[in-house]
């Protein structure tokens, strides 16, 4: 019994990490229809920015978060301005372009900073465990769960309660008409892309104390993030959240019942079946494209 409760917590923890990585992707993909294959590299850039801030400026992870967000968002903004913006009416080309950007970023980090794994110290404040009966939870992982929910809520507020969000939703529904009403779609798109990139950066910053920080770390993560987005349904925040929980818990339970390798296979097989019967994901949004 205590194995199961511990495992449920592990699943939730996995889900929180997945959600934070997938959220930025879901927004970019859902709002703009851009399949951003450089997303994993934004995560990686976030991790390296955290490393640089900690190593050279002595700033801990939690204080570094706003800086990381701004730095990675700025990188995203530049990439959107220079490359992605010119490709909105050629969605297939964006896949190739963002993939190429991903490779460029990865190799730039490898050449500039080095290929070896970097060490980032976790926050002292959140070290240790909280124990409730047989359930042992790492404080840092609890923090990640709450933080990811907060980010989700913040994004929801941004999308539904601000003028920016309203404009963005208008553009998603019909870009042409929105522009007729004076909404500057280009600007909104740039900001959205930057926001999505910034979220990826934060995710990267937060996972560094648990994972190893290497130039290729984003590649594996982006696959999981895409699974979350596709299972959740394009552009749906609640879809991304529930898909992250579903995949996280399924992975955790399968890996305790079978083992990690077969568990992974079982989860992927499950996703294929799900996509077969719900091709637009769990919570498809009705948009005109």
């Amino acid at each position: 019994m205590d194995v199961i409760s511990n495992q449920l917590f592990a699943g939730l923890s996995m889900a929180s990490i997945l959600l934070m990585i997938a959220l930025g992707l879901a927004i970019i993909y859902g709002a703009m229809g851009v399949i951003n294959l450089a997303h994993g590299e934004f995560v990686m850039l976030g991790a390296y920015t955290t490393w640089a801030l900690q190593t050279y400026a002595g700033i801990g992870i939690l204080l570094a978060l706003p800086i990381v967000f701004i730095v990675v968002a700025a990188v995203g903004w530049i990439i959107e301005k220079v490359v992605v913006q010119n490709l909105y009416h050629r969605p297939l080309d964006t896949i190739l372009a963002t993939w190429g950007i991903g490779i460029i970023l990865q190799q730039a980090v490898r050449l500039g900073i080095g290929a070896e794994s970097r060490f980032v110290k976790g926050p002292e404040l959140l070290s240790g465990n909280t124990q409730i009966g047989p359930l042992i939870m790492s404080n840092y992982r609890i923090f990640l769960i709450f933080f990811s929910v907060a980010v989700l809520y913040g994004t929801w507020l941004l999308m539904t309660r601000t003028e920016f969000g309203m404009k963005l939703r208008a553009i998603i529904q019909n870009r042409g008409i929105s522009e007729c009403y004076g909404i500057e779609a280009k600007r909104i798109y740039s900001l959205t892309f930057a926001y999505g990139a910034g979220l990826a950066g934060i995710a990267g910053a937060l996972i560094t104390p648990l994972f190893s920080t290497i130039p290729t770390m984003g590649t594996g993560l982006v696959v999981d993030a895409f699974l979350v987005v596709i299972v959740g349904g394009l552009g749906s925040l609640i879809g991304a959240a529930s898909a992250a929980v579903l995949i996280g818990e399924a992975t955790a339970l399968f890996s305790i019942v079978i083992n990690d390798t077969l568990g992974r296979i079982a989860v992927l097989a499950g996703i294929i079946v799900l996509i077969r019967f719900r091709p637009r994901g769990l919570f498809p949004t009705e948009t005109r494209r």
Binding site: S138, R141, P209, F211
Partner: protein
Amino acid sequence: MKRRDFLGGVGAVGTASVLSAPSLLTTAGRAMAQGNDIPVGLLFSLTGAVAVVESTLHNAALMAIEEINAAGGVHGRKLRPIIEDPASDPATYADRARRLMIRDKCVSVFGSYTSSSRQAVLPVTEQRKNLYWYPTLYEGRECSRNVMYGGAVPNQQQDVLVPWLVENFGPRFFMIGNNYVYPKEENNYCKSLLSELGGEVVSEEYVPMGHSDFSSVINRIRSEKPDVIFATVVGDSDVAFARQYHAAELDPEKMPVFSLTRSEVEVKAIGGEAAAGHFSSAPYFMGHKSPENEKFVEAYKSRYGGDQVTHFVSEAAYFQVYQFKAALEKLDPANITPEAIRDAAVGLKLKAPQGEILIDENLHTHLWPKIGQWQSNGQAEVLIQSEERVAPKPYAAYEGQTCTGEGLVKA
């Protein structure tokens, strides 16, 4: 048949003219170099996924070559390193090895970290009757006459370690490794030792390569409470495993991790604090005390930077070049072939940083297994040093199969 004779004749004429008038065909410098230098291939990835480790092997081997050249070379001839970057891709390894062995006429090639890249080069080196110097610990079960194995095989990593673990920590082993051949073969051998020692395996788990979330593994460790965690997790996975193990506050005093793969490189990324208290088994640690090692570490640091580390694979990459040099010294300078180098290398003794090593007639190396405990400064304190040099038995887990000087013998 006729055509081949004709080509052969033309070839002979061509070679003769090269020999008689080299300056007509190449620049004088290159002809000189070809006359005097000994071409040696370096085949370590400088880009791609395994470049993190292989670049350190490249550095160590190159340093050895330059040290040898600075000391006057071999019989007055310098070693000429020819560097190729196989970019972490096994097919490219085979291709570049062929290029080094055929076009550049290298008498030996040093290279590879992963088994998959060694196996890609294997047919090439066997076909060209060349010599491939492989510095990494590996899973055994290979017995090529054209590969010099410098790293430990399972019996060299475990013969000292496993009985010590059972005696000092207990008989209940939890095995965790990445899902590929090396961890499986190591665990296989460990199980055969455990059955003799009366130990048991409470769980044997494999995670995919590059796996980065170990929460379920850690939960299982927590509920099983094993005496020993026997880890063969590699690279980034090991870094993630160690950090999450530490974050979960599992106490190394009560449940230490014994790794066959964790070296100074991984510990640097894990962070000394998270790695402290756990153990590794290897023939070499950077903190090993010997005059040879002090010289090696100092030379390496002054050359590549004070924050660089040496580890059990880079040490082998370094001493293998010296083994190669010692073998060359035994040969007639006019008659250097890869197979002559191999035959001269067998039985060769050499003071390496880890201790005095010996090349077995099966072309593996007799090594000095050690058990080190990691400290918070990122270095290992060597707790146990094997009392005698341990002979390599690449088929130790397979009864009736022995790797000998004639290749694999099946009883």
